[in-house]
Structure formats: C-alpha cells, structure tokens
Symmetry: D2
Subunit: 362 residues, 4 copies
C-alpha cells in the first residue's frame, strides 16, 4: 500500500527501505532536501513540503512521522491541517504516551485517526525488522496492518512458543495492536523501563566479577572503607569479556543485551575511554512515574534509573550531607581519594578507643 | 574419554546421555539402583557403590559429582578417600564457591585435583547443551576439556560476536576456565544473581502493564491509598501474554527468560493457581553478600532478592510496625483489605481537617 | 491579629485554639454547624457561610483553609470570589505544590495573595505547636507572620544549634518562608518523603531483630527457601519493644518517630490486629516523582514507597510471573504457604541431581 | 564498684570519667603511658601492663575492653589468660557479634564470663551518657549492672512512653540485657544499619530540595539527560540549611541526626570542601548480610549502603558497561561532563529519526 513518511533519519529512512523492498509505495519528506533526494534515488517518491507530500498521497491517506519527540506536536498539527476525515497520522517516534492521548482527543472531532507506534530495533532494524507496539482505533489499525506486517520482523528464526499452533498471530510476527491511542507508546515505555533494569542487572553482575580480586587488593586497603573480612574468598581475576561471551551460549541469561555487552567488551575489553556517565531518555523515567501513579512496586526499575542519575554525579550533594553528618557525630574525617591508612590503631592498641574509618562512636 | 558420574538425577543423567552420544565412556553411580540400571540400559557402565565406580575407572580418573549441594561435602570426602594422586574430582552441582575454595585446599596435599563447574541450562540442556563455568588447576582443566566441550552447547546458531575470527575460543563453544578452584561457581553465582535481576525487571514491567487500567478501577478507590491523580492516562487493558510474545521479536529485551515468560503466559494467561510465593536458592543471596563484601553497589540485584523475600510474607512485621507508627502519629486507622471509603470527607468539607487515608496530620 | 479559618476538623480546630490562647481573633466556618458552635463556645466568632465569614473580617483579610486536599480547589475559588485585592488566602492543607503554583497564577490578576503552608505536627500540635513551611509573596508572608509565630512551636526546649546566636531566626521558632507560592508544600512534600524513608529504616531494622532467632526456627525449614547457612549465629530472641524504648536514650537514632514506635510497641507488643497493609498519602509519591523529574537519585525514598505498595499486595502479579518463569525453566513447583519439605533429597543422595527449592537447574 | 578499663581513647577515657564521677573505682591501662597517667591524674588507678591491671583488681574481676575491633581477639586472649573463673571480660567496642559468639564459646570451659556491649553515643557520651546494648550470661549482667547504670544516660529529660509507670525499667535508663553473648552487638549492628537508612533518607530529601530549581537550570540542558518536562514546577531556590533547622521543631522527622545535619549546614552551608566520598564501617554491611541470611527484606537499608559504595566510585565499571551497551545498540555517544547539546535535532526536524540523548532507537 501507499505510505507517507515524514522524517528520513536513520530509522525513518530504513523503514522506508524495508517497505519498498516489500513492494509498498512511499512518499517521503524531510527538511533536508538531500535526505529526500537520497531516498528518491532508491525508489521513493520525493516531496518538498508537507503539503506536497499530502498532495501526492491518495485518500484515505496514512502519514507516518519519524521525528524527534520534541517536534512531534507541532508537526502533527501541521499535517492534520492538510488531511481529510478518514486519513491517518502515525507517530512512530518516542513520544510520551500521554501526548498521544491528548493528540488523539484533539483530533477526534476532525475525523482524522491518530495511531501511535512504539518502535524497537535500533540500528539493526533494517535487516532484523522492528518490533511494533501499536495504539489507536481498530479501523485505523486494520487499514495500516499491511505496512506494519512488512516493517515487523516476522516469525523469523525465533522458536515458536509451545502451545501456539496454526496461523501466526500478529504478535508472533512482531507487531501488536495494544489498545486505543497511547497504548502503543505505553507498552513501549514499559519495554524500555524493563530494558533499564536488565541492563543494570548485567552491569552490576559484571562489576562484581571485576571485584572478585578484592582480596588481592586488600594490601592497599585504606581507612575509608570497612576492611574485607575474608580476603581468601576474593582472590579471582575474572576475564569479564570472556564470561560475557560464554553466557551467550546455553545460559539462562542469554539475551540480545548480553550479545551487545559481549560485543562491546570484545571491541574494548577494558572499556577505555568511557567515563561511565550514563544518559537516560524519558521512557525509564515515565515508567517509574507510571508505577508510582498506579501503586505498583518497581524497586528494580527505579534503582536502575537512579544508578544512571548517580553515574552523572547527581548524588553529590546527598553524599556531602552524609559526610558532613559523619563529621558531626563522630569526628570522622573524610579521606581524600586514594588515601591509605597509616594510623597506629591498626598496628597497636595504643590508640585505645580511636577507630578510624568506622562509625565506631555511634 | 572416560568419566565417572555420581548422581543420576535429571541433570546428571542428561549429561551422561550427552556424553555417550558423542562417544565418551561413562561409569555411573546413584544410590538408586534403578537410576543406574536405566542408564546402563542406554550404554553406560553401571556400578553399585562409589568404590565400584572408582574401581571401574582407569587412572588418572575423573569423577563428576552431580548431587544436591547439601551432600557434596560428604561425598567429596568419600570419593577422595578412594582416589589416587593425579585423579580429578569435579563438582558440577550448585555449591557455594566458598566450599570449593575450602575443599580444594583440603585436597591439595593429597595430590587430587578439585574442579568446580557451574552449570546452567535447566531442563533444556540435553538438547541445547549446558553453559559451563569452570574453576580449578590448569592441568586438570586441560585434561577434562574434551568432556566439557561435549557437554557445552558449542557455537550453535548463535551469531558470532563482531571482531571475533578464526577458530572458536572455548567461551564461544560454551565453556570457560574462569580461574582457580571456586572461580567456576563464583561466576555461576553471579550469573544467577543477574538472572534474579532480569526476572524481576520483566515481572515489574509486566505488573505495570497489568495496572494500566488503574484509571478504570478508580471508581472502586478506597481511602487506603492515595487517589490516582490523572485517571485519564490509565485506561488501557493490555493483553500481557500477547505483549510478552511480541517482545520476543526484534525488541531490545528479547531473551531466553522472555521466551519462558511468553510460554508461561501462553499456557496460563491469568497465572491461575500461582500463589506468587517466590522461592530463592542460595546464589542470589550469595551474590548480594559478595557485593557487600567487596563494596560493589548492587541495588538492582539486592532489590530483586528482597522482592522474593517479601513475596513470602517476610516483610510482615515491618509492615505492622509501619501501620502501628501511623496509628500513633495521626490516628490513621488501617483499613481492612478491600474496604471502601465512604467517609463524608470526600463528599463535603464538613470533616474539616480530617483526612482519612493520608499522612495529612504529619 | 484577625484570621478567618475554614475547616474546623482536628487540625483546623486546634490551630484556632492555639491562636486564641495567644490573643488572636478567629472567625470560623465549617459545613458542620456543630463544629462552628463548639469553637464559638471557646471564644471564636462563628459564621454560617463563607460569605458570612468574609463579611466578618476586616480588610485586608486573611483566610486560612484547613480542608481535605480534594476540596481545596473549589473552596479557593469560592473564597476568592468573595475577597478583595490585597486579601490573602492561605492553604494549610496537604495540597500538591503544583496546585499551589497553578492557583497562585490564577489569582495573580485579581490582586489576591495566595500562601501555601505545609503543616507538620499531627495530633500533638495543639500543645507542641506545628512546624510550618510557607510559600508565597514576601508581602503576604510578612503580614501573616504574627499568626505563623503563634501556631509554630517556638524555640521550646530544643537545644540551640552550635554557631547560632542572637535573636532566634524564624526557622528556630518553627516556621520558614521557603520561597514563592508552592515552595511551602514542596518542602512539606519532601519532609514527608523523608518521613517514609525513616519509618522504613526503623521497620526494616526491627524486622531483622524479630528474625534474629532464625536459627532456632531452622528445624521447621521448608524447601521454599534457601537453607540458613550458619544457624548458630541466629539464636537470639530479642525483645523488640524494649529495644525500641532503649534506643530513645543516648543513641544516634533517637527521634520522634522512634518515640512513636516505642509507644506503639509498649501498647501492643506483638502488634496484634494489625494487618500490615500500609497506606500512603500523596506526598511520598510526589517526592519520588519530583526526584525522577529533577534527575536526583532517591533509591531509599523510592524503596520505602514501594514497600508500602507491596504491603497491600500490589506486587502480586509480578510475583506470579516470577513463579511462572521458575516453573518453566527448572520445573520448580511453588510450594503452598507453610508447606514443609519432606522430600528424600535432604536425607539421602538418591535423588541425584534433583534439587528442590533451588534454581539449581539454571 | 570496681572496673578495669583497657583502652583509654576518647570513648574509653570518657567512660572512665563518667564512672569515677559516680563513685566507681577504675583501674586503667593503655599502651600509651601518657593516656594512663592522664587518667590517673583524674583519680583512676593506673597500671603498666595487662598483668598489672588484673593484679590490681579484686576477684571476681570485671575488665572492660574499649579498643579497635581488629585488636579485640588478641587482647581477649591475653586478658583471659590472666583471669580466674568467675571473672568477666566485657567487650565494649565495635566487634562483629559473630566474634562474640565464638569468643564466648571459647571461654565457656574456663569459667570466665564474656559480655558484649554495643555502645552508642559518640563524642557527646561523656555528658549525655551512652546507650548500652548488652549480651551475655544473666549472672554476669547482674554483676556489672551498677556500672552499666552509671554509663547509661538514665531517664533524663526524655518524655516517658505512655503506658509505662512505676520504677524505671533498665531500657528506660538506657541499658538493656538483650540476650546471650553476641546479642548486644547484634542489636547495635541493627541500630547502625537503621542509622544508615535514616541518614540516607535525610540526604536524599535534602538533595531533592537542592534541585528544586531544576527548571531554572533548564537553559543549560544538555543532550546527556532527558529534558525536564514541566520546568515551571521546579523554580524554587530552597535554603536547605534553614529548612534543616526548621524541621527540628515540631516536625515528624525531628531527630538527633537531623540536629547534626542542621549543625553541619549551619557551620558550612554549602558543604565546601567535602568530596562526598562516604565511608562505611562494618555494621551497615553486617546488617544487610544478616537480612539476607534470615530472609528479611531490607531494601532501604541495602540501598543506603550501596549509595555509600557508589559515592566512592565503586559503581564505575558498571556504569562503563552501561555506556558501552548504549553505544552498541543505538550508537549513543557518551557526552563528556558538562557538554551542552548543540545538535540540530532540537532546532529543526531535519535530523529526522536521529534522537540524541535518547534510547530512541531501542
């Protein structure tokens, strides 16, 4: 069928390519004329404005927006002004599902359908296909289903779930009508929230492996931390990149995120050059806020989000407060980074009750 | 090569089968004569005691124990008493790596090698192969490598990690020499710790999806909880089993644990009959304790463990304390489960400052 | 000075009493005529409608609302319609600070000042005074300061902070102008968020004390949980009520919440009759959402909120998912509550690799 | 009565002073002759060796050790060798309660009693008294009770818990016999675990207050983080030192730790010079491990411990892993600290699907 695509960045462009390969006709637009002409060279119908794009589509039209979330609201308005009742606007970007709910309501009287599509797949989507989480009216979903089916991965090489038989259901082909407008991005939001948790579980576990030699490092122990109690049990030097590779085969935690981790560690075993300041996009935050709103306990998802905040130093003032309290109640001096204990208290009992590096006095 | 196997339960039996298929010779023992005769019927050499098993092996021998962790210590001692210098004892069960460190040290003078093998793969291992994390002396590892290679999954259909080339490394075949005695179970322990975190991330996320209709339920709202502030954003009825199936294809969180989740929800979409009292084995606990010992932050792994504890009601006294405090400082009465607010305070302002169901007075 | 008070519940009534004791004049209103006549009997000027209340106040007026948060919006509108430029509306209830920001903006053109006052103190406030966190314009704050000073606890018997000298600052008297409209309830919100964390820390700690006899209980151990590894270290039967009382004296964690805990346990040492379903009001939720919005790590505050959710069973579906996964990958049967292991696997090695109650197969 | 004190550091010395003020006789020893002569000048009986100290005590003797935990084991052995059956050794330091259990067992045959005393009170104990948590045999506790009563704070100015009447119970005087050997330090351990949680709750809350101006900072927003969605609600500049002072009066979270916080912020309002690398002593770790052992959920206590670990950079490798994964799946470049977005994607839609600073492609 025919689709209009607005936004020809990496994902928008690849979706167009995937559609054209399967025989769909794409009318494309981007503020960058080069992006338009590039895809036109691959077989798409180029356009030089939103109005031009809409004019080149036959009614009832379907226009897919693949643009940064911050711009979606404005472009939805512009496109809607050009469309007719029965046409469909599809937001395939990373919008907050709340915006979908609002936009669908705003468009309701105009007779224009609003469909939100949460899209997962990353840079690999062109070949692998994109996992599509769709929200919107039944009628609109049914109309664009041929397009969704092409963009999605299909049943592929994934082993069929026991108990399923007969024709493949949409979810087995990689797309699903999750509910009314907003439901698609809601499910995508939770998907990303889970992703944060899975990533954190892997990262924390690998960090423990990296510290499995803590007993060897003990000689350099400082007063800043409690002494390792049984150093004999922490004498391992683990080759973390090899372990990540190993777990890809036959283990319970094999996963695509583990594949990526193994690839990252293969390319850069010591992770040189990475500062470890971990960004976050909106979805992890929205997921935690949705959990709070609905009264659902989500300590793992929240902790994974907060670890990212802390990685960027946002825990700094809190940590200063803790150090300040410790100074107050026990006269505990904060040691500068890397400082090594040489106080007599570990060598003799002469220091009596003085207990550096402990909350002893509390 | 030749291997002695002690313990012919599901995993021990399947490992023997997998070895025999690949031409290895297995001498087997179990306290259940039926288990022995069963495998003997499939080609193994049966034995009727540990001594008999040892006698039927040619030196230098390799004896694999696949028995419950609680019995391993005693059986290691019994087997060691029957072996000669240069022989190898392999513990393939779920021992705490600390026991490996102790046992290897205890055996050192005898010249008997001790190898620990963390084994992942579950009920699917016979066909899929087992992921093997190995600790022990280089010499012993090298000697049993042919066996490990057979038990492991091999390179299989897993896509090769970019940057790897040439012959497959052991970790690409599904087994790895992680370090000295204990290192195998240490890595397996962390693997399971990560597994807890991944499982919890999935479970929390799906729980949020289940509550996406909180705004619809709002009519039944009770004073027990804070009111949902924007019910219009929680009007979705999500088909969680379909979403789990969907995410298996093309999404960033596709993983074997997600496959299992989809299978579980396919077979029992409402999870009827499951009380949600989640057991835990030692590994998750040991992982958190290792994190604490080595000073590694592991909030996600710890939270996933604590959620399991709470699922079994171990948070009960703490929750009673919280309710008791609230009674004290605000006269907040705890509502019985399911109770619905009908106090006038929501209908009129006559109740003045009385704010049921809030910490208002604090 | 003169104050109008709307809402004569526990807190509103007590604030009026505290004001009258100190010589202020109070005009009072409540939808309950009995509440009005009761306070009129104690010296207040009664009124029988909002219009009557406003009419009995001299301009420039100050009207304090002490009503449930759900009603505040409507009553603010009604009162504002009766007031003149220069008058002040004070919201002393538990409003979300966001509503303050919106209401203050809505009133700006009318020349009516909006002041929000976060009020802490509970049932003890009449005698002890209320801690007041105030947001609003400088001019309005200055005008009502005499009233705030009376309602607040004053310097009381609290030891002066080292480094402070001279006249007492407002914060030393128990009230503070925190910033523009909304700032008062923002600070109160965070106060309550901290309160949740402190309460949880106490509750978790006392729960550990309650389980200090886990080694004694070990005989009844079931397969549902990992066995206690060193039962000899968990043989204590701690008298938790006495410990709570003890810590009130000289310990680092002495606090008012501990006082309440000791009182609760003194009155009901086994906490009989408390189901442990812990309510939450909005503030804890808003605090976590504010942390998420501003990128501040708040794992402790979030965990304390999620524990409350879980105490009400909101973790149920997540726990079912976990049990369902475990069934899939290891054939782990969930044991019914209270079930005790009697499988042979602990008594003999006959069960080979069967490891009940573990994630062994993973 | 008479007491021998070994270890005359800050706490040991002050306990001796507090005892002498109340008429007890103290024989004192320290490896520092100056410490001994100093206290001798204040009325204590000095000694120049452990043997001398023991010789100067009348049987049945009581010897209190107030020395660093690392030395306690050796000194217990030395003192025990000098004592007679019926004598008492008291460990008032910060030992792990497990060491108490072991030491008491080792001394059992000798007839020497072992008493462990967890001591809280810090630098303020000389005047305020110390909160004492005691473990050991009934007989030994009864014998040293006069000493404990003197060291403890007494009923002081703490308001009596409602429902208590008649003579003060020991816990109302600030000391408690918690159980057999080890119980004292067990209760102290949990006390400190709670302390970590309370400190973290305060620090996180104050950190949120510090970020209440996030909406003002928004102009400097970088692509590294999700944009603040409603900056109009984060426009507050909160004077955190004043708020800490305010909450000391009449609020629900008034506590000694809050007093210390207010004092710290009064002395150093911006916490200049504090790096925020927060030390931890053993107790917080032991508490979490006890929770894990006994199956008690302790997410708040664990999170507060992990925050300290992270404050010292122990989350670094985990964060690098997260950044490395993000690079893999979405080509997300990690921005250097402080970098500001200037990519076109926020200014125009020309970038199409390129979404810097998001997990957009996932």
């Amino acid at each position: 069928m025919q689709l209009g695509m607005v936004g020809l960045g990496r994902m928008g462009g690849n979706i167009v390519r995937r559609l054209m390969r399967d025989g769909h006709e794409c009318v494309v637009y981007d503020v960058s004329p080069d992006a338009v002409s590039g895809l036109a060279g691959e077989g798409a119908v180029g356009s030089d404005s939103l109005a031009d794009l809409v004019a080149k589509l036959q009614a009832p039209r379907a226009v897919w927006l693949m643009i940064p979330a911050g711009l979606t609201g404005r472009v939805v308005d512009e496109v809607a002004a050009l469309l007719d009742p029965g046409d469909i606007i599809i937001d395939g970007g990373n919008s907050n599902y709340r915006d979908d709910v609002r936009r669908a309501a705003a468009l309701r009287d105009s007779g224009i359908h609003y469909v939100d599509v949460g899209t997962s797949g990353g840079v690999f989507g062109l070949e692998r296909g994109y996992c599509l989480m769709v929200g919107g009216p039944d009628e609109a979903f049914a109309r664009i289903e041929p397009i969704l089916r092409t963009i999605a991965p299909g049943s592929g090489e994934v082993e069929r779930t026991p108990g399923r038989a007969g024709d493949f259901a949409p979810e087995e082909l990689g797309y699903l009508h999750c509910g009314p407008s907003g439901a698609g991005h809601f499910v995508k939001m939770v998907h990303n929230g889970i992703e944060y948790g899975v990533m954190a579980a892997l990262a924390e576990g690998l960090n423990i492996l990296e510290h499995a030699d803590a007993g060897v490092q003990e000689a350099e122990h400082s007063a800043e931390v409690a002494p390792l109690e049984e150093p004999e049990f922490y004498q391992f030097t683990i080759d973390t990149p090899k372990v990540a590779e190993l777990w890809r085969r036959g283990s319970v935690i094999s996963s695509w995120l583990l594949d990526l981790t193994a690839a990252a560690l293969q390319g850069n075993p010591t992770l040189d050059g990475l500062a470890g300041r971990v960004s976050d996009s909106g979805e992890g935050r929205w997921t935690v806020k949705a959990a709070v709103d609905t009264g659902v306990p989500a300590p793992v998802l929240a902790a994974s989000l907060f670890e990212r905040f802390a990685s960027r130093g946002e825990d700094h003032f809190a940590n200063q407060v803790l150090s300040a309290m410790r100074l107050q109640f026990g006269g505990h001096q904060e040691l500068p980074a890397g400082d090594v204990l040489e106080a007599g208290s570990r060598k003799s009992e002469s220091s009596g009750g003085r207990q550096p590096g402990t909350d002893g006095a509390s």
